[in-house]
């Protein structure tokens, strides 16, 4: 089975965003893999291994791809260090990209790679656009399951059963392969990913795995193809345009109230919440 995971680099969300002259100040930014994309890589790894034995299922392959500048190779290496097998970087400046361009490139890469599943983060935490997975499914005419909180790969590997958290509970949806999956935070809970290989009782640590030192060393030797958008015949140009950037207004300081009656009164009179 082959899984393709597109990943994007984003400025470290744990650090403060700086805005200068109507644009995000990226000088000296610490770039990291978009957290949801890390979850996507983790999902792919869990789907294709025996977690208890720590061994990959025979014949399984995970390909990570990014569309971005030369520096973005580092985020691909991080994914290789946690266990992905191979990487593709399509060279492009961030400014030359929007969801449409990225999808146009991915469609071509998918045509060449023929993966059984494409797993993406539900959104990138920089623009929070939440578009690529859905657009990709539309363009390819493939089945999609978005915001996956759990996934189980059928024993015959022909379909996945996906749990999606919706307002009324959890919706389960089975999609056949090839298909598109976008993942949410809870996909990296200890029992969220099942593949009929890892024993059902096995609990993963919460969250995506850290690269081991061996993995980091091995990643340096794993193959990374570098392509251009034109190699895939992509001529699409961005249709979205950045008009301006400003930080949200600072939140007013909280209040500490003396007792419950005061709280209720404030909620009713000031916040008009009840």
């Amino acid at each position: 089975m082959k899984i393709l995971v597109p990943i994007k680099r984003v400025p470290d969300p744990a650090l403060k965003t700086k805005v200068k002259d109507g644009a995000i100040d990226l000088t000296g930014a610490n770039w990291v893999v978009n957290p949801f994309d890390e979850y996507a890589v983790e999902t792919a790894l869990r789907l294709l291994e025996n977690g208890e034995a720590g061994a990959r299922v025979a014949g399984a392959e995970i390909v990570v791809v990014t569309i971005g500048p030369e520096d973005a190779a580092q985020q691909l290496r991080s994914a290789l260090a946690t266990g992905a097998d191979r990487a593709i970087r399509v060279d492009a400046e961030d400014k030359a990209l929007d969801a449409g361009v990225v999808v146009a490139a991915l469609v071509q890469i998918i045509a060449a790679e023929k993966p059984d599943l494409v797993i993406l983060g539900k959104q990138a935490v920089d623009g929070d656009a939440n578009q690529v997975g859905q657009m990709l499914a539309g363009k390819l005419g493939w089945a999609q399951a978005t915001f996956a909180a759990s996934v189980e790969l059928a024993a015959d590997q022909k379909s996945v059963l996906v749990g999606r958290e919706v307002d009324a509970g959890v919706e389960y949806k089975r999609i056949g392969t090839p298909g598109i999956l976008t993942v949410d935070l809870r996909i990296v809970s200890p029992h969220s990913v099942k593949n009929n290989v890892t024993p059902a009782t096995f609990a993963y640590p919460d969250g995506p795995r850290y690269a081991s030192l061996k993995g980091i060393m091995a990643a340096k030797k794993k193959p990374m193809d570098v392509k251009k958008l034109s190699d895939y015949g992509v001529t699409t140009t961005p249709v979205t345009r950045e008009v301006g950037i400003e930080l949200p207004a600072a939140r007013a300081a909280g209040q500490i109230v003396a007792d419950i009656p005061t709280l209720v009164k404030k909620l009713a009179d000031e916040a008009k919440a009840i």
Partner: protein, 365 residues
Amino acid sequence: MLRQTVRDLTREIVEPQAMAHDESGTMNRGLLRKLGELGLLGVTIPEADGGAGLDATASVIVHEELAYSDPGFALAYLAHALLFVNNFYWAASPAQRAKYLPRTLTGEWIGGMGMTEPSVGTDVLGMQTVARKVGDEYVLDGRKIFITNAVEGDVFCAYAKLDERITTFVVERGTPGFSTSDKIPKMGMRASTMGELIFDGCRLPAGNLLGREGGGITNMMRNLEIERLGLAAMSLGIARRCLDVMVAYSMERRAFGQPLHELGQIQRYIGESFAKTEAIRALTYGVAATVSPDSRNRLGTDAAKLFAATAAKEVADAAVQVLGGYGYCAEYRVEQFLRDAKLIEIGGGTIEAHQKNITRDLTRR
């Protein structure tokens, strides 16, 4: 990528547990085990023997990043990964490696090293622990003090005099005649423990001789440089953290109608702390690049640790000062970093010992 990985893991799993371990004065054994799973306990051990085969710079990166959140734990890590694992590895026979490496590389066993004694520290050659050869065994008598990881350690490199010549032995917990004391309370580095190693007619099989008889000084010297770099790197982590905290605080806190960083005297703390931090970084990484199993830099490592220890302590002190009363209290943790930083002026060679060594080397004809 090594730095990013250790930084992420420090932020996510080291930082949240640090304060509690400083308060309780305990070492987090599970966390060391986790580092073992990720291969971080054998950074400098060749790949063929289960390590990562990386250089002194890699070891410096790991120590720096861990110390940014938890210098005490970083010290326990140093005692395990450098004072035991690295020290042991380069002196050990293949049979000894096969016996002790696998369990210490995973962190299943914790290691430490015993050199200092109740009546001699800096004057190592004056050590009084003795070893005698009795039949097929060595019998050790004496005590070691201030030994990091003594309380929870499973295996130690210990130095003793055999016919007046310093010799290294591997000592396992459970060996007849060997015991350890309770933990010794201390000022800082409280997320690691220290205690005594007590040898009272401790009987070791001949196979526990590490290296050759009388080879203790060679082993000691071989390891000294990477140990000092590890401690200098911890100073860098401490300085970086304290600088970050003081800068952030100076932007939030206001006094006399302006943010603290507008005040000239505060600017001096920030400016000098930044310069010191950068200087520690440049010196430590510069020297690290010259140290490997087959290239040594005694002067450089003495200089790096001498400078880093005091500079980091001063940066921590400046952070406490900039934060005022909040700095003296536990919440922002800078008082802890000041307590922790002080150790590096003492452990692994006092600053006076570095001054003495440097001068001796420079005046040698």
